[in-house]
Symmetry: C2
Subunit: 358 residues, 2 copies
Amino acid sequence: MPSPIVISLDAMGGDHGPPVVVGGVREFIRRHGAEGLHFQLHGDEAAISAEVARFRLDASIIDIRHTDKVVAMDEKPAQAMRRGKGSSLWNAIEAVKTGQAGAVVSGGNTGALMAISKLVLRMSAEALERPAIVAPWPTLRGVTAVLDVGANVESDARQLIQFAIMGEAYHRAVNGVKNPVIGVLNVGSEDMKGHEDVREAHAILRDNKLGLTYHGFVEGDDIAKGTVDVIVTDGFTGNIALKTAEGTARFISTLLQDALKSSFQSKIGALIALPALQAMRRRIDPNAINGGPLLGLNGIVVKSHGGADAKGFASAIRVAVDLARSDYLDKVGANLGRLGEVIPASASTGGDNGDKVQ
Amino acid sequence: MPSPIVISLDAMGGDHGPPVVVGGVREFIRRHGAEGLHFQLHGDEAAISAEVARFRLDASIIDIRHTDKVVAMDEKPAQAMRRGKGSSLWNAIEAVKTGQAGAVVSGGNTGALMAISKLVLRMSAEALERPAIVAPWPTLRGVTAVLDVGANVESDARQLIQFAIMGEAYHRAVNGVKNPVIGVLNVGSEDMKGHEDVREAHAILRDNKLGLTYHGFVEGDDIAKGTVDVIVTDGFTGNIALKTAEGTARFISTLLQDALKSSFQSKIGALIALPALQAMRRRIDPNAINGGPLLGLNGIVVKSHGGADAKGFASAIRVAVDLARSDYLDKVGANLGRLGEVIPASASTGGDNGDKVQ
């Protein structure tokens, strides 16, 4: 029997801590089983034990690692790096570094998670400034991986290509698509559209020396259409696109609720259509599509929404398990290694990356 | 009696030409009356006359200016500039230049409209590279003006400030808000978030030497919340945010329709709730919020969606009429004139604006 894959969890992260993290483990096991898996939970032992007992989890696959120290949700990344050592977040990441765990999941402070992950695990390629965050985006055809959605404020052509390599390997590992099709987010589809960085990335991807399947430029409305499997963009645009979509979904959902409550007649109609409306809501439920991996690190780190519930946390665990079981890290490493052959020196203007996460 | 305001219309623009443009005039008059207004219609006289007769419009307020020449919807801007002279689009804009008309509306080719408007009318400030396009964005509180949504691919701090000045004056003129509140679109709300251009624009707006009401940074989900009245961003991000929101709205609308058709029971429910659902749809109907002005020109130019129907075209005419009746151009001119006093030389690094509209 092969030794189990260990998933390291920051039990104190997120808005709710142990109840959601331990509840997430229970929900994950209910959905997918626990075969070949162990869970290492970092944080307050008493609180975690109580939840493990409450959820009647099999104690033989749960390993609690006590610490009193917690990184606050509003702590600045620089502060978290200086003071975070020994915290549940730090220890959970450290377990991946030392090889005790195959992946880590945290619902904690994104900036601190990124900063400590980078410090502890280090980037897998020199040119990478910081991890890229992937958003699994629900579309009419399934899920599209959009990256970066917030880690890198400015991204040159070389970074966009790195995002393409990492996103492609990620999508294959997690969503089981053999040859994910890649697109570069832009303001139009013609070669001359957009700024220099997207045009340079477009030209390199079109040349196809990296063996990636490239569609071309895509526009904002292509994301939800599911035109391609992986969409690369700088973290500034990606973050704003993601939050704009979330805002739009909330806006329409509010209008819909108001409309269905606006009269006695519409209330009756809504009641009758309720099962269908609930099924629809599940398809755009952020909890069902939770789990944004931080790509580009020497190790697998998955960010869960801070506000996720146990079902949401279970989805994030699934992303971590799928990545840990796959050859994702090897494949990405090999392709990033080939970047130097493919990208001409003129494209690697990088280095001056004016990002700020503080 | 004061002389009437003349609205110049490119009758051949858009996907449908004269039926929608003349139908739009009829619909505008039905909604708002024609008092103090004249309409100058540029294009094929026979086709326009037939529509004017069909819609029984009062011929005394309609002035048809014949031309055979039309700029195609897929014509490149550079080509349109070289060959477009004498076309319905060109002549409609020229009428504003010569003072015959107070504003022009076209549903034609956006790139050609921008290029010819800039050539014929010229920019109202030297530092402006090309017009900014405003998107009137429906929100929970009404409408927010978002600019630029596609004309300028990169925008430095000085341009973002110009967008703020122009957007504020526009919002006051069209939406009747006395002191529109401005926000700068960013990936977070803290001062240190984002790249240099947004932080510099933020610092200048916070200093408040231009007399604008400034809220601070806003994020993608603030757009649909209606957190502020005017949101400024570079045209790359703005265009992608707008199209992402349109794609999200279409995605949810498709899911909703599928859900309501998924069973006999849900079909009954949908039928009963139909009036409420239709009222909701009207609130996000792009035709009801049609009309994106091109700001920064010496004259008022309003872009209508190419696919708009007569109701949509009427909305675009309303935007043009409101701007033409207001002191928008004077106010913007005065504020842009004060930019030099307010923005330190270090901020005006502009000039190297790598935008492409081709």
